[in-house]
Symmetry: C2
Subunit: 225 residues, 2 copies
DNA sequence: GGATTGTCTTTCGTCTGCAGTCTACGGCGC
DNA sequence: GCGCCGTAGACTGCAGACGAAAGACAATCC
């Protein structure tokens, strides 16, 4: 088995194109999150199929998946429409996110080991430098990576999957706001890291809850203004 | 508009058969939850199509949906296989469920009104009588209805959707256990109702957490035994 | 003039057919 | 006897086509 001398992970699967439906799915998700397809827009299957150069079938399967994940609404015998997020729904999403992230922080505090904490600190340092350099896109990406790493350290796959869903939907109805509070956010991250390193579950839960609640509040302020 | 004299809600929509894919979806879900299609089984599209008297397309779409909801694993170019739940996954699901239900109880305590509480009490009474009559199926159904009502009173749609997903998956890897603790469970429900009626968020959260944790523990005991 | 009804276009829902790929099995060489 | 290779079968992935339902618009009747 190992006698071939081939590097183990170097040639994973020859990089195939992969199932067409998945690429259609990602293409549509990109179009939706970038607002190229705005909320409420009617997605005509044949139109999308022609535009992407494929048949209707992969498009239909992609739309199905997008529907179950809450990106589009699939009205029977009428077609798919890009979901229109309401104020109420955004608030509910933020509530749920607070819940999931806080639990993740607790579990991370319970299970985290040294290498994991080192990664967190590294991400935090990079994030701070990105904020200092006013590289907003990079800061946002690092923020997502930080939370994803906390979720990974929590070691609960189910929790991670749900959080990922919720997170993407939030970031969608939310793009303009996420760019505002930069430095403050990373200071809170630093506090959170120490709590996790100390295995202080209560403190980690509390800090993460505060952190996401701050974000939620800034959303409402933005909305009101 | 109202001069037609037709009863308003009596003729809702003529009860159409509805989209075929949905009926296929429900049929397959029934077959999976009842273990007629056991975990790990290879689901062949043409076979299912022939058995249900439809074409492959609705079957494919139903399988897609089942895949995104975690019921089947869709291996590319190989087909669909009924998902095999692991011990770890079951535990993670229960953890998440505890979290979601506890939050629902808190929100319910914050928002519940008299008619809602009345419904809860009614469900509780029915549940106790079902337990007394040793009608296990009915007791299980009422238990689900009770938790669903609490979730509805919480008034958070996103939370409810996530909880519904998690709940169904739990009930699947879980059927043999759910039938054990009957009377105890309903006593806890009664306590929870009073907490909600008093708008005591802390107590409602705590009680629901205890309640679901009891369930989780009995799962592990059953598993160990 | 307003409401109603008939038709017409658009789009979805479903079915059939074909090509690509993975798996399993039998034959062959060592 | 053991392992490798070639071939056959089966299944999935994708494309195209047909029937049906929903919405829009115009003509008609009251």
């Amino acid at each position: 088995m190992v006698s071939t001398g081939l590097p183990q992970g170097a040639v994973p699967k020859l990089e195939r194109p992969g199932p067409l439906r998945d690429r259609v799915y990602e293409a549509l998700l990109e179009l939706i999150t970038t607002r190229a397809l705005g909320p409420g827009r009617h997605l005509v299957e044949s139109e999308l199929a022609g535009h992407l150069g494929v048949s209707r079938q992969p498009v239909r399967e992609a739309l199905q998946r997008l529907s179950t994940e809450g990106w589009v609404d699939l009205r029977p015998a009428q077609g798919a429409f890009v979901h229109e997020p309401t104020e109420e729904e955004a608030d509910q999403l933020l509530t749920v996110r607070t819940l999931l992230e806080a639990e993740a922080a607790r579990l991370a505090a319970a299970h985290a080991d040294s290498p994991g904490i080192a990664v967190l600190e590294e991400l935090c340092a990079e994030g701070e430098s990105a904020v200092a350099a006013e590289d907003v896109d990079r800061a946002v990406a690092l923020n997502a990576a930080f939370h994803a790493k906390v979720m990974e350290l929590a070691g609960n796959t189910v929790l991670a999957e749900l959080a990922a869903q919720v997170d993407r939907r939030i970031r969608w109805s939310y793009t303009p706001v996420a760019r505002q509070r930069g430095a403050q956010s990373w200071a809170e991250h630093r506090e959170l890291i120490t709590a996790i390193a100390d295995h202080d579950e209560q403190r980690a839960t509390h800090l993460m809850r505060e952190h996401t609640e701050h974000t939620r509040r800034s959303y409402h302020e933005h909305d009101a203004g």
